[in-house]
Every structure is written in structure tokens, then in C-alpha cells.
């Protein structure tokens, strides 16, 4: 059961996501019936499973919510913007209840009482409760112990005094059409006590007149049983509506068929009939009217296999592709192995060329094909772990609602490119920085409704979240249509914190980027929402740790945009392979601005040890990579080197001096920490085609250590001098 419980909560997550997608679509104005149905089904599913696990608080709330949704889907309720707000809040409460149930606790009812009352009010017609949905919740004891279900030939004995029952049972054609069998009914009846059954076949016509779908038999049954009449009735539970049935006990007639007819007719909404015959008539007409719309709903080819349909813009349903569930570890292992394959293939190519087998062109062609194939395998495998950002974006919409509520603002979230896929590892680590930026956008970016109206903007603000693939990377943007960055305020705050000099000349863009400095916060009060020391600098570092970059742009009165570019995956890296003191190092392409061939005249000394390089009239610090990493003791001659201009996370530029550039290539990242240990200035390692290990530079760390070394006057790796 524990495994099924886990399955249940996993499924709840999926259902909650479906529900949110559907509700948001409805909020945007979608009236598509499939959308409403999908939301209903999601809540219905959660309620169903919750009932089985005795999660009473969850069941109660889900039930009311489900009823309201049922009213919407049956047309009893028309969704208004007000109603959608209530539903979205109910969705949030439901999610909270699911989480609480998963952790085995309950939530204080007072905390969601308003929402519960609001949802409940939707289910009342003219202030009265719809009677049929009264839920009588009795915890079902699900006992999965082995039941004794051996079919007993002998009837059960009871200690009670036997009662005599006389049962008249005449099946109608529907009984057989619905695959019921009199024999089975009688068999079940026999389990209640001793039984005698007589069949009246007088209605059976001549063979040539027999309708194979007809019902011609009638049964009179005597039953001696200690069971009470309810148990007897229960045997006929499924066939009651499809037969003429009367059960008499000790001479007293039970509810007669005419009464059943009346009840049924009432339920079907027509005038009560007195003849049993009319019951089947009214059933038949009801059947016809019911079936017509039902048939219209059916797909024309019910035998068709599950289609791989593209997600319909109108429907809220999950894209109908066949999927399988795979454990994450297995995918990870596969990706690792493919990484090894790529390395091996490169090594093979190298060795063949070196051993001069390359003379045969068929070998070369073979190797090229192998490389092509390996690349394709790698791309396909990477794609396995690729996930659409949609669920992540979904979570953001809830955050927007919460922060907007808490700050008294009206904000709507608009998303673009939800289907864009990124590696799962990247998606997971994006959640926190994205959350923080979204909160900021609502809390600080968008103005209050009054301010907006005064500025001639609509009272409701908009935050736009988009994702797109661009030249081999993912670009994610968060923009708001708020007041933009208050540059004078930012500048003043930075001066006050001593981050910049009082008379520093800064461009607009430079002022905007001050937000990324550590400890920066212009919030005059530390609100609960943001500004509690989790500044944009942490966000920036998170993005950079993913191999990404982030920038900001803003227009006063119009809003701000954060733009992030991230690698598609953390497993491979596009880099430039360079030689330094006989070693091969890899410099991540994202850090490289340009490469230059320095002339002696461009290099100038700075202080005792330092050097700077002049590039188009600006001076940038020069870092001798070989010396910085301790590969050599003497400084490299610039004329025989190559300078790589890099930009670190904070936008500063430095020039890395290396011996030569080999080529640009994509390398499989292997963790240094896992295999060796942490080395400052080195991010990771890879294995080259010749089998040697190449270190991947951590440009930011290298620059920082160079700076610190120059300040302290010592080289951390070298012997100084």
C-alpha cells in the first residue's frame, strides 16, 4: 500500500498541474468544454484517491470544489472573472491540502475558511444546497488481506430464524443486452439460503418466431434464508431496473414494481406511470435522447490506436503522446555512458590518424560516419532529459497571485514558449532564481493600481515570462510593465553603501547592473516578499553557476526586463581548447569576447608584478594563465602568445594570456570534485581525443584569484618572483 500511496501523491502533482493549466485557460476566457472537463477530472481524481486513503480534510474540500466544477461543466454555472478568482484560490488551497496530506498533517481550517465558504456558495442554487451531493463520509477500511472468496457450493448458514421469501423475477431484454445472466443471479441468491426456482417458459414462441434478443422467461423462486430482505434485494441490485421484480417476505409484499416505476419516473422527470410497461418505455426514450449526444462525442474510429496528436491550442489536455516512465538514475547513467562514447570515438579517430591508417579513405569515411552517429546519439540522449519549462512557469503563476494578493496589487502573468525544453537539471536549478525575480517584478516592479491609473496605465499590471531557443542556448526573459528601475534611487543607495564613489560617472545600463552587486537592496522596509538579503547577486550567481548569463534593461515608466541565457544542458560545454605550457586547457565559450594577437607595445606594466593590455584604447588586466595556475615560473612573452579577452560575471573584462589556440570544440564535462578534488580556478575536466585530461577553466575564479594574488603580492600556486 505504501507504494500505491506514493503513486497517488505523484499522480496528485500531475493532476494539480492539469487543474492549474485548465483554470488558467478558463481565466483567459476559454470556454472549451474539454478544458473544463479536464479540470473537473483532475479534482475528481484527487478526491477519489484521497477517499481511499482516508484523507478526510482533503476529501471534504475536494468534494465541494468538484461539485462547483461539475456545475460549470454541466452549464449550471457560467464562469465569471470573480468566480475564476475563487477557483484559482481554491486550487491553491487544494495543492496545500495535498501537500499536508502527503506529510501526514492537517491544515488549520481557519486559514482557508474564506475560500471554502466562497467555493461552497457556488454550489448553492438559490441559497439551497443541492441535495444529491450530500456527502456521507465514512472512512472506508481498506483491508487488503486475503478475502476468502472460494465459491461455496453450500449456502451460508445463519443462526437467525429462517425467513421465507417469494420472489417473482421476469427479466426484460435489456437485462440480457447488458450482459447480465439469470443463472448468475440465481447462483448468488442460492448463497443466501436454500432455494427452489421454477421457470415459466410459456411465453416462449415457436422457434422461427424467437427473437434472439428477446426475453421470454419468468421465474418464481422460493428462498429460505436467515438474511434480511435488504440482502436479498442486494442480489438483484444490478438487474432491478431491467426486470419485473417483486420480493415478498413471509407473505408481506415488499415494495411493488409499480412503486419502483413511480420512483424511476420521478428520477427521469416525467409523470409517474402506473404500468411497469411504461417504465421501460420511458427508459427507452430517455435512452435515445441520452445516446444521441453520447454518440456524437465518440470518435469515429473507436478502434484506432492512441494517436500522437499535436497539442491542440484549444484544449487544455496534456499532449496526447505515448510516454513511459523511467527512473532518473537510469537516464543519468545513459547520459554518462554516451559521454564516454563521445570521448572514446574522438580518441579512436585520433589514434587512427596518428597510426597512419588514414591512408585508406574508406577508413576516414567510416570514422566520419561514426562521429556523426555518435553526435546524433548524444543529442537524442540529451533530449531524453529535456523537459518543457511549462511546469516551472506554472508554479510562477501561483507566486504572482500570492505576491499580488499580499501587496494589494493586480498583476497578471503572461507566459510564452512554455513548450521550450531544457535539460531537467537546469530546470530544477532555475526554480529558485526565477521565483525570486518574479516576486521582485510583482513587489518592486509593478506599481499599485492607484499609481498605475494615475500614470495612465491599466490598473492591472503585466509580468511576462518567456523562454526560447536561440543559437544553441535557452533565453529566458522576465519583463514587467511597471515603473522601471528608479535610477537616482539606485545610484544614491549604492553610494550610501559605498559600492560606488560619490562622483562616479555611470551609464544607465551600468546603474541598472548595480542591482547585481552583493548586499544591494533598495527596499526601505524589508518586506516579507523580497529584500531579505536574498539579493539579485545571489540570483546572478545561481544563473552563472548554471553556465548562464543575466542582464537587465529598463525604461523609466515603462518597465524592466531581465534577460538570461542558459546552456541547454550541463553535461557538455562549448569551449575553446588552448595550450598553456604544454597542457591543454578549455575556456568556456560563453566567457570569451574575442581573441587577439598582442604586440609588445600593447603590454604595459602595472605596479611591481601586474601587467595590463591595451585594447582599442582601454586597458584590461592581463592574466598569465600559465603562471597563475603554477604551470611555469616565468612570465610568458606576449609576442609569442595569444590573448583571450574574457568577460566575467560582473561584466569586467580581463585578458588571458595563453600559448596558442587549438580549436573550438564541444567537450563532455567530467566532474573534477568527484574524481579528484576541488582545484581553484578549475571548473571541471574533460578527456581529449588523445586520452589526456584537459582542465576546464573557471574564468571567474581565475580572475578573482589573480586579483587577490596581485593584492597580496604572492602567487598562490607559484613560488613568486
Amino acid at each position: 500500500m505504501a507504494a500505491i500511496r506514493q503513486t497517488f501523491f505523484q499522480e496528485c502533482e500531475e493532476q494539480l498541474s492539469e487543474m492549474e493549466i485548465g483554470l488558467l485557460a478558463m481565466d483567459e476566457g476559454s470556454t472549451d468544454s474539454e478544458t473544463v472537463n479536464a479540470v473537473f477530472r483532475a479534482v475528481h481524481s484527487i478526491k477519489g484517491g484521497a477517499g481511499a486513503f482516508k484523507l478526510s480534510q482533503l476529501v471534504q474540500f475536494a468534494h465541494t470544489f468538484e461539485t462547483a466544477l461539475d456545475f460549470v461543466r454541466s452549464g449550471k454555472l457560467n464562469p465569471t472573472p470573480e468566480m475564476m478568482k475563487i477557483m484559482l484560490r481554491a486550487a491553491d488551497v487544494l495543492a496545500d491540502l495535498v501537500e499536508a496530506s502527503r506529510e501526514g498533517r492537517e491544515i488549520n481550517e481557519a486559514s482557508y475558511e474564506t475560500v471554502a465558504v466562497d467555493i461552497k456558495s457556488l454550489t448553492l442554487i438559490n441559497g439551497e444546497e443541492e441535495v444529491e451531493e450530500a456527502i456521507d463520509f465514512q472512512p472506508t477500511v481498506i483491508d487488503f488481506g486475503l478475502p476468502d472468496i472460494s465459491v461455496e457450493a453450500a449456502p451460508e448458514q445463519t443462526a437467525e430464524a429462517s425467513r421465507e421469501y417469494r420472489i417473482a423475477f421476469t427479466p426484460r431484454p435489456e437485462l440480457y443486452a447488458n450482459a447480465n445472466e439469470t443463472a448468475l443471479v440465481l447462483r448468488e441468491l442460492n448463497r443466501l439460503g436454500a432455494m427452489e426456482a421454477a421457470c415459466d417458459a410459456s411465453a416462449l414462441p415457436e422457434l422461427e418466431n424467437v427473437d434472439p434478443n428477446g426475453a421470454y422467461f419468468s421465474w418464481s423462486i422460493r428462498l429460505s434464508s436467515g438474511h434480511d430482505i435488504a440482502d436479498v434485494r442486494e442480489v438483484f441490485e444490478f438487474v432491478e431496473g431491467e426486470a419485473d421484480l417483486s420480493i415478498e417476505s413471509d407473505g408481506q409484499p415488499e415494495v411493488s414494481n409499480a412503486d419502483i416505476a413511480a420512483l424511476l419516473a420521478m428520477a427521469l422527470g416525467s409523470a409517474p406511470a402506473s404500468e411497469p410497461a411504461t417504465v421501460s418505455e420511458s427508459l427507452a426514450t430517455a435512452r435515445e435522447t441520452e445516446i444521441a449526444p453520447a454518440v456524437a462525442n465518440m470518435t469515429p474510429a473507436p478502434v484506432a490506436a492512441v494517436e500522437t496528436a499535436k497539442p491542440d491550442a484549444k484544449t487544455a489536455a496534456v499532449p496526447s503522446q505515448t510516454t513511459i516512465r523511467v527512473e532518473f538514475d537510469r537516464v543519468d547513467r545513459l547520459i554518462n555512458l554516451v559521454g564516454e562514447l563521445v570521448i572514446n570515438q574522438a580518441m579512436l579517430s585520433q589514434r587512427v590518424i596518428e597510426a597512419n591508417f588514414a591512408g585508406s579513405s574508406s577508413v576516414i569515411i567510416g570514422l566520419e560516419e561514426l562521429e556523426q552517429l555518435t553526435r546524433e546519439i548524444q543529442e537524442s540522449v540529451m533530449a531524453i532529459r529535456a523537459q518543457p519549462v511549462k511546469p516551472l512557469f506554472q508554479r510562477m503563476s501561483r507566486i504572482v497571485r500570492e505576491v499580488a494578493d499580499a501587496t494589494g496589487k493586480e498583476v497578471r502573468l503572461k507566459t510564452d514558449g512554455e513548450a521550450t525544453e531544457i535539460d531537467k537539471t537546469v530546470v530544477e536549478r532555475l526554480a529558485e532564481p526565477l521565483t525570486h525575480m518574479i516576486r521582485n517584478a510583482v513587489d518592486h516592479g509593478v506599481e499599485s493600481p492607484e499609481e498605475r491609473l494615475a500614470a495612465g496605465k491599466p490598473a492591472e499590471g503585466m509580468v511576462r515570462l518567456s523562454a526560447a531557443h536561440r543559437s544553441g542556448r535557452i533565453v529566458i526573459e522576465i519583463s514587467d510593465d511597471g515603473a522601471g528601475i528608479d535610477r537616482p534611487k539606485v545610484r544614491a543607495s549604492a553610494i550610501k553603501k559605498g559600492l560606488i564613489a560619490a562622483d562616479a560617472q555611470l551609464s544607465d545600463s551600468e546603474i541598472d547592473n548595480l542591482l547585481f552587486l552583493p548586499g544591494f537592496s533598495t527596499a526601505s522596509t524589508i518586506s516579507n516578499i523580497s529584500g531579505r538579503g536574498v539579493g539579485m547577486d545571489v540570483v546572478k550567481r545561481s544563473i552563472q553557476a548554471l553556465g548562464g548569463r543575466i542582464s537587465i534593461s529598463s525604461r523609466p515608466g515603462q518597465g524592466s526586463t531581465f534577460s538570461m541565457s542558459l546552456p541547454l544542458t550541463l553535461a557538455v560545454l562549448d569551449g575553446m581548447a588552448v595550450s598553456v605550457a604544454g597542457q591543454t586547457l578549455v575556456v568556456p565559450l560563453t566567457a570569451i569576447v574575442e581573441t587577439l594577437k598582442p604586440k609588445k607595445a600593447d603590454i604595459h606594466a602595472l605596479g611591481a608584478e601586474g601587467r595590463v593590455m591595451s585594447i582599442r584604447n582601454t586597458f584590461v588586466p592581463l592574466i598569465d594563465v600559465g603562471m597563475q595556475l603554477g604551470f611555469r615560473d616565468t612570465a610568458t612573452q606576449p609576442e609569442s602568445s595569444v590573448a583571450i579577452l574574457v568577460e566575467t560575471g560582473d561584466g569586467a573584462r580581463n585578458a588571458l594570456l595563453v600559448d596558442s589556440i587549438q580549436d573550438q570544440r564541444q567537450v563532455v564535462i567530467k566532474s573534477l570534485e568527484a574524481n579528484y578534488g576541488t582545484v581553484e580556478g578549475i571548473a571541471a575536466a574533460t578527456i581529449l581525443g588523445d586520452g589526456r585530461v584537459a582542465l576546464i577553466l573557471d574564468v571567474d575564479a581565475l580572475v578573482t584569484s589573480s586579483f587577490e594574488d596581485s593584492v597580496s603580492g604572492e602567487l598562490r600556486y607559484g613560488t613568486g618572483g
Partner: protein
């Protein structure tokens, strides 16, 4: 050993049905919605079909009607999963051609008893 085809879009419910039925000695086949159910039906001969009502693509009613229209499977007993208070649903299920019903959340003994009532 009898074979039961269970059709439900909820994984949790499918797992629970399978657990209860397998312990009771039945062979269990699964499908995720009406379309899938019909598909599985083409490839196998279950003795009983147990289906949920609310499912995407083709709901329980649609499945039952499709099964009843097909001469090969017309007489397969079909039980619908329904909630306690849903008299209207039971009625509609019957009209679509359902043989009987099982109430959710179900007790394994009741589930097995219902199956016994409709399966030879």
C-alpha cells in the same frame, strides 16, 4: 483464472484495482481511457471489464456503448466505478449498457463480490 480489464485514467486507482484483483486470483489487464480500453479489448478476451466513468478521450459511457455495439464483445459483463451518491450516473451507465457497478472508494471484498455476480 479469469481475466479482468480495468480501465481508469488514475494510476492510483489502477494500482489499487490490480492489487485487490490479483490477490483475489484474477489476471489483470489495464487501460488508461476508453480508446485504450477498446484497443486492449481487440487484443485480448477479458471475462469482465471494470471501467471508470470520467476519463479523457473516451469516457466510461462511450466505452460501454462501443463495446455493446461490437458483436464480438456484446456480452462481456461491464462494471462501472461510481461514487456512492450518484444514482443518476448508475442510471445512465445502465442505459449505456453497463451490467453493474462498483462504488468508490471500493472495498476489495465488495469489488470481488460484484465481479462474481456478473461473471460465470
Amino acid at each position: 483464472m479469469q481475466t479482468i480489464l480495468t480501465v481508469d485514467d488514475s494510476r492510483t486507482m489502477r494500482d489499487m484495482l490490480r492489487m485487490a484483483l490479483a490477490e483475489a486470483g484474477f489476471n489483470v489487464l489495464q487501460a488508461v481511457d476508453g480508446v485504450d480500453g477498446l484497443d486492449v479489448l481487440q487484443r485480448s478476451s477479458p471475462d469482465v471489464i471494470v471501467t471508470d466513468i470520467n476519463m479523457p478521450k473516451m469516457d466510461g459511457f462511450g466505452l460501454i456503448e462501443a463495446v455493446r455495439k461490437d458483436n464480438r464483445y456484446r456480452k462481456v459483463p461491464i462494471l462501472v466505478l461510481t461514487t456512492e451518491s450518484d444514482a443518476a450516473k448508475k442510471q445512465r451507465a445502465k442505459e449505456a449498457g453497463a451490467t453493474g457497478w462498483i462504488v468508490k472508494p471500493f472495498e476489495p471484498t465488495k469489488l470481488v463480490a460484484a465481479i462474481r455476480r456478473v461473471a460465470a
